[in-house]
């Protein structure tokens, strides 16, 4: 999904009218190295729940709401908190050889898991970024 697709689908029409489509794209270009979705969320142009639902719908992955979730700290032995924060992920459960991970985006870099636990299968679900960060905050506390 490109940034233009995202803007066209998710950005509130009022925001497009105010800033203009070119202005929004310029705002994305000013923050190289970040996901365009992240910039749109930070600027408040996209609702993170709508984005998560849209990503889940387009990718066919399950959507999972995390309200009230208290993560199991032991799961962060598999996915360190620093990587989880960086990739906007939170591990939810471990069943046999499968680790269920909630991610705010479709392409988190979880190469650490491949290198450290080559037999562990990662099952990704999509969740709103705000709820993921709130869950990670619970762990950090």
């Amino acid at each position: 999904m490109t940034a233009t697709d995202l803007i066209a689908e998710l950005v509130a029409p009022d925001a497009v009218r105010t800033a203009g489509l070119a202005g929004l794209l310029d705002a994305i270009d000013t923050r190289p190295g970040e996901r365009p979705e992240e910039t749109l969320l930070d600027l408040g142009l996209v609702d993170d729940r709508r984005l998560a639902l849209s990503l889940a719908w387009r990718s066919g992955r399950p959507y999972q709401g995390l309200r009230g979730l208290v993560p199991d700290p032991r799961l962060f032995l598999y996915l360190p908190l620093s990587i989880a924060n960086r990739e906007r992920c939170v591990p939810l459960a471990l069943r046999h050889e499968s680790l269920r991970v909630a991610s705010a985006f479709l392409d988190p870099d979880l190469g650490y898991l491949d290198g450290r636990f080559p037999n562990l299968r990662v099952e990704l679900v999509v969740s709103p970024r705000r709820e993921i960060l709130a869950a990670l905050q619970e762990v950090a506390l």
Partner: protein
């Protein structure tokens, strides 16, 4: 050697100095010159030897410096190799410990789950055994009653167990007109399993419609996958929902199952406003 300046030249009778004195002086000067020349040669020879020694010492010093530099380089390389090996060992041991701890945690969790499952099975078996004993006691009392030829039903002690199971199912009661069912009252937190949703807009519309129902404080999408969604409804107080669902939600809703905390509905095509 005597000092030439102390030699006295005596005047000759007519002019100059006496020849004998001059010849002696010249001889002394010659001798002194030869001596000095010899000393100079000797000094030059010693100087050449010293220079040779100095060069040899300088060469040896250079060699010592070179060996020292080589040794320092080797020591630095050895220290770096030692540090690298030490870090590698620490990293490997840390990984091994982490992996072992994770395996141990998993094994403990699996064991706890297994123990819980076995405990449940044992409790179920105990319950079944108690029910079986109750049934046997009941059959025994029935048999005694039949053997006594008593037509009246046996009066047995009230079972102490909370869940007695009769040997035979009771006769079904005669059909009576069924009263109108009481409306289902739902708790303050209700889960609604709904679907299929053809697109996200229909899910959003459904969520919005739920939020407008009376006494619904909050609607939250908990799960969504494969066109099926699970929504959580926070109610202000326990209330009936199904009638409101059918009446106020634009999508055609068919309630498949419902209990106090969960409703399963099938979403049809939205009704068109006339």
């Amino acid at each position: 050697m005597e000092d030439l300046g102390t030699h006295k030249l005596r005047r000759a009778f007519f002019s100059g100095y006496r020849v004998a004195d001059v010849e002696i002086l010249v001889a002394q000067i010659s001798l002194r010159l030869a001596h000095l020349t010899s000393e100079l040669q000797s000094t030059r020879t010693r100087l050449d030897g010293s220079e040779t020694d100095r060069r040899e010492l300088a060469r040896r010093l250079d060699e010592a410096h070179g060996r020292e530099l080589e040794l320092v380089t080797r020591v630095a390389a050895a220290e770096a190799e030692r540090d690298r090996a030490q870090q590698d060992a620490v990293l490997r041991s840390s990984r091994a410990v982490d992996s072992a701890e994770l395996d141990a945690a998993r094994i403990r969790a699996d064991a706890a789950l297994e123990a819980e499952r076995v405990r449940g099975q044992v409790e179920e078996l105990l319950r079944l055994r108690e029910e079986l004993a109750q049934a046997i006691r009941h059959v025994g009392s029935e048999l005694e009653r039949v053997l006594r030829g008593d037509d009246a039903p046996a009066v047995t002690a009230a079972p102490a167990e909370p869940r007695p199971r009769p040997a035979r199912p009771p006769e079904p009661p005669a059909p009576v007109p069924a009263p109108a069912p009481a409306p289902q009252i739902f708790d303050e937190l209700v889960e609604i399993d709904a679907g299929p949703f053809p697109d996200l807009a229909s899910l959003s519309d459904f969520e919005t419609s739920l939020g407008r129902l009376p006494k619904v404080a909050n609607v939250y999408i908990r799960r969504f996958h494969g066109h099926q969604a699970t929504l959580e409804l926070q109610l202000d107080e326990p209330t009936t929902l199904i009638d409101d669902l059918a009446r106020l939600v634009p999508s055609a809703v068919n309630v498949d199952r419902a209990d106090e905390r969960r409703i399963e509905v099938t979403i049809g095509a939205p009704e068109r406003a006339q």
